[in-house]
Amino acid sequence: MKGDRRAPTGQASLRPTLVYEMSAFIETLINGLLLGALYALFGLGLSISLGVMRMINIAHGDLIVVGAYITSVVMEVADVHALASLFFVAPIMFIIGWVLQRALFNHVIGRSVFAPLLVTFGLSIVVQNLLQETFTADTRSLRAENISQIGFDIGGVSIGLLPLVSAGVSAGLFALTHAVIASTHYGRQSRAVADDPSTARLVGVDDKNFFAIVTGFVMAAIAFAAVLYAIRTPFSPTAGPDRLLYSFEAVVLGGLGNLWGTFFGGLVIGVAQLFGARVSSGLGPFFGHLVFLTMLLARPQGLFAKVAR
């Protein structure tokens, strides 16, 4: 189809080609931004755990996949739409997060940098194998044709409904997180703990219990990311590490501990991937990584890093 619209060479065809190139460029850019917003949503949870608890969760990507599988089960059992299933999946994920933090992560936080890395690395392997054991290695996807198959054509630029919804949810969750951190008691606690955990305890912050709530919130955010991702792309038990990689790139690119930096970082990765895919359809992720590495070399502290204290 693309070939048909590409005009043959010659003076007369210059204008149509330009118009086509322009609208294709805009289309790639917009779709890249929309995809990037989903990557940003992947990174949201990671950004919060890193910012508040100084914890890097290697199992983050696998927990996204867990969310996708839980959604597929809930959809089957309760016979609900993929998005409606979030009413069940988000609370379930909150509880899983709370339990994980209390039973596992709290024992390793604050000891050394490596302890949480090792524990979550182990968790990642356990989760992948449990998923494989329970759901087999076959790929699945969440069926939601009434949003995944709908698109708009705006001035020659085609945009899908699902990416639009994803981006809206992502931006909404970032805004919500920002509001919670900026102007609620929980937000003040999270900033205080991030600043100085031992003094936070002196003003009555029960950090172990608070971290459990934070991880619960992170997992609820993961639930949203998981559903939107799984409607878009088929998933399998081993899909986690790639999700982790994109999340991590978004977080690091934006600057550690900077919420909106993570959002912007996700956008950059998404745009880079889609422009890369235009060069060659298999090279999308590669270009994402390339841009990440280049920007990391140029600004190792991330684009919007907090000023070091």
């Binding site: 900033r191 205080a192 003094t199 305890r201 002196l202 003003v203 009555g204 912050v205």
Partner: protein, 230 residues
């Protein structure tokens, strides 16, 4: 009445305190003096639960309350102003107070009352806590502890690094807190200031109480001897 009885504490294999017994009553200001490394900070941190101690090492009105978390002790009405003030840089002055107020107890020290007692904080309440001068920070740090409405206020290195005028402000505030009925323990490097402001004092040396008594008319020579251990 808040007291410790034969309190022993340390960090790992290092024992910092040996059988320390002190007490402070409501409305009383007690000074802890002693050279660096004598164990003054460790003693305060033991009482509020930052350093673990035996359950029967700390008593509140004859109830053993040792071995509890900082949060529990704060709820019981014991608050610590840590050495170096340790305000949260990501929080404004007001937010620093709000956090403690929400986690602490209800009582006379509302946020409004604290701002009324410290009018200087009013104009800087929305500034990040670290944008203040050392003296202002110390007032906010004490205000933050007060916001939790403690019956017993423990202040570590209350005047360290402050200008003389600021030290005056800090003690003026502490006198108000005492006359409002709270018991106060201060750690103070300046021995004559400590004795001048306090009702009673304890002198620690290498983790033991080597001298205690009423501050008024305390014999400076014996205090100096206890302080330096000569």
């Amino acid at each position: 009445m808040l007291r410790t009885r034969s309190l022993c504490a340390g960090y790992g294999l290092f024992q910092a305190l040996f059988n320390v017994t002190i007490e402070v009553a409501l409305g009383e200001l007690v000074a802890l003096i002693g050279a660096n490394g004598a164990g003054k900070s460790t003693l305060l941190r033991s009482i509020v639960g930052s350093v673990s101690v035996a359950k029967d090492a700390v008593f509140l009105d004859d109830e053993p309350i040792g071995a509890a978390s900082e949060r529990r002790q704060l709820k019981r009405g014991i608050a610590l102003v840590p050495e170096g003030r340790r305000l949260f840089p990501s929080l404004t002055v007001l937010e620093n107070l709000l956090l403690a107020a929400r986690n602490g107890r209800r009582g006379m020290w509302s946020i409004d009352r604290i701002f009324a007692e410290l009018p200087i904080l009013g104009s800087i309440s929305t500034k990040p806590a670290t944008a203040l001068s050392g003296g202002q920070q110390q007032l906010v740090a004490i205000g933050r502890a007060l916001a939790a409405n403690p019956n017993f206020l423990l202040c570590d290195e209350v005047s360290l690094g402050l200008a003389p005028l600021a030290v005056g402000d800090v003690y003026a505030l502490l006198r108000k807190v005492r006359s409002a009925g709270s018991g106060i323990i201060i750690v103070e490097q300046n021995v004559s200031r400590a004795l001048g402001e306090s009702d009673r004092f304890y002198c620690l040396q290498k983790g033991r109480v080597v001298l205690e008594g009423r501050s008024e008319g305390a014999d400076r020579a014996s205090v100096a001897q206890a302080y330096f251990g000569v």
